[in-house]
Subunit: 423 residues, 2 copies
Amino acid sequence: MGEARDKAELAQKAATSLAKLDSISRNQALLAMADALEREQDYLLAENALDVAAAQEKGIEESLIDRLLLNEGRISAIADALRTLAGQNDPIGALTEGRTLYNGLRLRRIRVPLGVVAMIYEARPNVTADAAGLCLKTANACLLRGGSIANHSNISMTRVLYEAGLAAGLPEFWLQSIETTDRAATTELMTLTGLIDVLIPRGSASLIRTTVENARVPVIETGEGNCHLYIHEAADPEIIVPIALNAKTQRPGVCNAIESVLIDAVVAEHLAPPLLEALAEADVLIHADETIFALAQGLGDKVSRQTVQAEAADWGREYLCLELSIKCVSGVEEAIEHINRYSTHHSEAILSQDYAAVSRFLEEVDSAAVYANASTRFTDGGEFGLGAEIGISTQKLHARGPMGLDALTSTKFIIEGDGQIRA
Amino acid sequence: MGEARDKAELAQKAATSLAKLDSISRNQALLAMADALEREQDYLLAENALDVAAAQEKGIEESLIDRLLLNEGRISAIADALRTLAGQNDPIGALTEGRTLYNGLRLRRIRVPLGVVAMIYEARPNVTADAAGLCLKTANACLLRGGSIANHSNISMTRVLYEAGLAAGLPEFWLQSIETTDRAATTELMTLTGLIDVLIPRGSASLIRTTVENARVPVIETGEGNCHLYIHEAADPEIIVPIALNAKTQRPGVCNAIESVLIDAVVAEHLAPPLLEALAEADVLIHADETIFALAQGLGDKVSRQTVQAEAADWGREYLCLELSIKCVSGVEEAIEHINRYSTHHSEAILSQDYAAVSRFLEEVDSAAVYANASTRFTDGGEFGLGAEIGISTQKLHARGPMGLDALTSTKFIIEGDGQIRA
């Protein structure tokens, strides 16, 4: 009987009440929560400062501290995200199919909440508000387990959001955060079969793997992205450099950034040099196969300084920084095989003006999002027109790719009759 | 490295080839498989007879042996189910959404196979052909783990189906059965993360619980049904007995049969007696609460002999035989609370002519299928117009209620552009 089980039981009760709330009530609570975040800004920043100071004292790396940090602008952005969510269509109650059966039974299938949604995440306090908002929008009770490094930030933000929701008419325990920093609580959370309807890990690859390996409750695996850009021999030379730079350097730390480039060997000598020069100019470290490495040596100091020989492990690596691997392939068949072998099945792109090559790539690459002649950076709920995004699923069950609000719903069949019995 | 892992790796390779097969090829293979079952009937019956004889020697109960038994009629029915499946629409490649994005990117979302589908089941050899057919129809590779009691039947049926499929052009290892009766193979199967895309247990409640508790791969929980019939004070008296008898006695051993009746206390004296008499006449053993037990004592020998006092454990019991529990409630609110507490969230029905009571019941009962004025026995893929059924999901993730072919699919986003990069 730990904190996780106790809170999950309370969440399950709250879920029953939440499921009865209409859309207007839930949206008004979202707006009240946004206002409360801005009103309680000083308190939130003071609590966040405690986490940041402790992290600095521990000598935690700067990029992680930046993710942890809240400021006025970030709080406004978090509040605005809640306001945007309030304006989105309500998925709950939507009819997904319906028909009259042969015996006159009238059947409808409608979207309903999942029940209790739990989320495990790391150092980003904005996930607290995101998760609370997404769960409330879909009438699910929300149970959060944030990283211990952000504990003051998470507890304070949960408190502000919870109180604002309660004042706006939400049921008790609609939102809860596990407060102990004891790791056993995380393990307990993962094993609450029958209490947690879905557990979503958001964060590092190791967090996601640990969750998938240990959870007994249903999990949606998110995030890891070893994404590929394949330059086919018939690629339009004009779009190669802009797309490669966008996909690698615009935000190197995100899951839809590319980690590997494949290029048809027959055009490598012609098409690779401008690409290598642009990548080197952008300070990208290039892990090159033999052919590309040799080419790079003839391209001047900057390029050769930024190029190293790839090891076998590079093909499966998600760098999440200004590094990528490049490999020559014999054509679309080898490119597809390589991708299906090494990819995390997130996002992959082909650049080609050849109809057959594009068709084959789009059909045979087994990833959540497959592109022709565009940057992989578009894999995102907002960009795809799905509205607010819960994460990007890299599994095939329930949800695949960017998850919109529908991913936090289930369905229920409603059947109305006049005394029908089965023959 | 046991048999389960080895076969799962081969299945993963087969899945890649299966995904490239068009619908005509898959349907032709289904027809060839149906023909082969009828052609190889003598072999299948001989192998099945070995299992039946061994089961009889072990003194296994008659109902289990009946489920294990094959005969000419049953083999024809299994073959015909494959032929029907061949005639159904192909879910693979279906467009589920599509739009042109703000930047001109053309986005489509299409149905794709899950990849490798594994099934664990018990003594019913028809599941072997069902599972093989459903997986092939949806272009998934199929890995089967049948019960050891049916091992000869499963191995022989897998062999006949596999060879017929191979001759019809399916890839090697499209269908495999785990042949060892070593239980460690089942445990191994449950932990093949990254190799198995979904594991579906079909059979007893204990099989399903063991799978949910131990699996590391994604699972779809099926089956358990503690289903309720609620007789509201405004129920049409004409439909009570026919629906209760149909829902309890037509096939008592199935998951959509009722296990519990709730009745409004104010009408119990008036409406319960004819119901108790009809149930007793049909040899149903009635576990009654105090009020109903007292009523039953005044209804003559047959009824009082068939009625016992309910214990607390009866409300959560799935009898799967000619027994049920009956309890008086104070109205729709208590009925809903009782059901949401004790139900396995499968199928529940209200009998009422009161609009508000029906609306509230349909909205607030949290089960996969909720009925007004009809028997719960209709919860079935075929009855619901979904075509062939994989099972009935009692979880909320991925699929809920009767699962048609769509439940064996995932989706993929395809995005086509002209050089778009993200701003």
